[in-house]
Symmetry: C2
Subunit: 205 residues, 2 copies
């Protein structure tokens, strides 16, 4: 049990990971199983995760990600991949709607609508992948903290190189890297940076 | 106090809002103040929120968003806007780093790096806006539920029309609409749709 507000307040982007502490797959699975409760468009879940854990794979990711030390130090770094084509009928998640009694003609209507209206340009398909996978990323970073695991999101990488190294096809987007692990207690984090105030962000009309 | 896992499990995309129940601005502020604890690249917070609350504004949004009934029924719908240009020195959030003692030459180096490497194409600038604003969206939907408020995310809208109606310039992206309010208890939701299994999503390398 951990209060959501406390998790939000205590989650930080942790630059320094204790390289002596492993993250076992059981914990990763608990984090993922909680994180996937994030919503996605039509519940299509247009995401995949490559968990980079072996020293050999870490080295390849490190070389493709501006040699950021935390990739080597953290026990695992997740390559968060979004699928631009996950709105087509090839995605079996469309048919999960059958489980709750949604009729096939309604599902087929949604597929048509997705193809012809919602995701009918390459930019819209890109944004579909980035947006939904980002929901998962955010959900996952809080879920990790809930289970006592620290995270650090990174966008500094060469996408082409990562795709080549990890066999990610061109219809997919590398949305984010997320290192997971435990804080190196010999280091100190800066205090949390200030957030913009409500009045600066929100306009009520 | 509410357990994070319970919030995750209980949050649903709610199609039916009780139009007789208002969402007061104090509650909206509490939700936002919690949601903005989401991380963003360099803490740049490239987001803005237009909270559509008046009947007149709701009608304009309804007409730009495929006449989805929940825009009229929900007490408020948020237009979640991402700023593709928020990585430039014009964003005062760069200078929040001074508060924690980060020196100006480091900040200026980061600004250069953002301009020349991270966000040096239009697609990267678009993805910067969509990705970070999506973190806020996800953070906000859980935060709303924490405070007893239901949400529904929508991507079915004409972006050009929303931009015109609500004076959103071209360097910004309408990332998502989120209706907020209280469930119409006279309605029933489908059971939650199935999520893909860990083994279907994650590959460990």
């Amino acid at each position: 049990m951990k209060d959501l507000k406390e998790v939000y307040e205590e989650r930080r982007s942790v630059n320094f990971f204790d390289s002596s502490k492993d993250l076992d797959e059981e914990t990763l699975k608990k984090i993922m199983d909680l994180a996937v409760l994030a919503p996605s468009a039509f519940n299509l879940q247009p995401w995949e995760v490559i968990a980079v854990k072996s020293p050999e794979a870490k080295q390849r990711l490190y070389d493709a990600a501006l040699k950021q030390p935390k990739i080597l130090a953290a026990p695992v770094t997740l390559i968060m991949v979004g699928d631009k084509d996950a709105y087509t009928e090839a995605n079996e998640a469309w048919w999960y709607m059958r489980d709750v009694g949604i009729p096939d003609d309604k599902i087929l209507g949604n597929i048509d609508f997705a193809k012809n209206v919602l995701y009918n340009t390459d930019l819209k398909r890109n944004n579909f992948a980035v947006r939904n996978t980002s929901f998962l990323c955010m959900s996952l970073m809080y879920a990790a903290k809930y289970y006592g695991v620290e995270s650090h999101a990174m966008i500094g990488f060469e996408e082409d190189k990562i795709k080549r190294e990890f066999n990610i096809p061109d219809n997919k987007v590398v949305v984010l890297l997320i290192s997971l692990g435990y804080f190196d207690e010999s280091k100190t984090l800066y205090p949390r940076l200030r957030r913009k105030k409500y009045e600066e962000i929100v306009k009520v009309v």
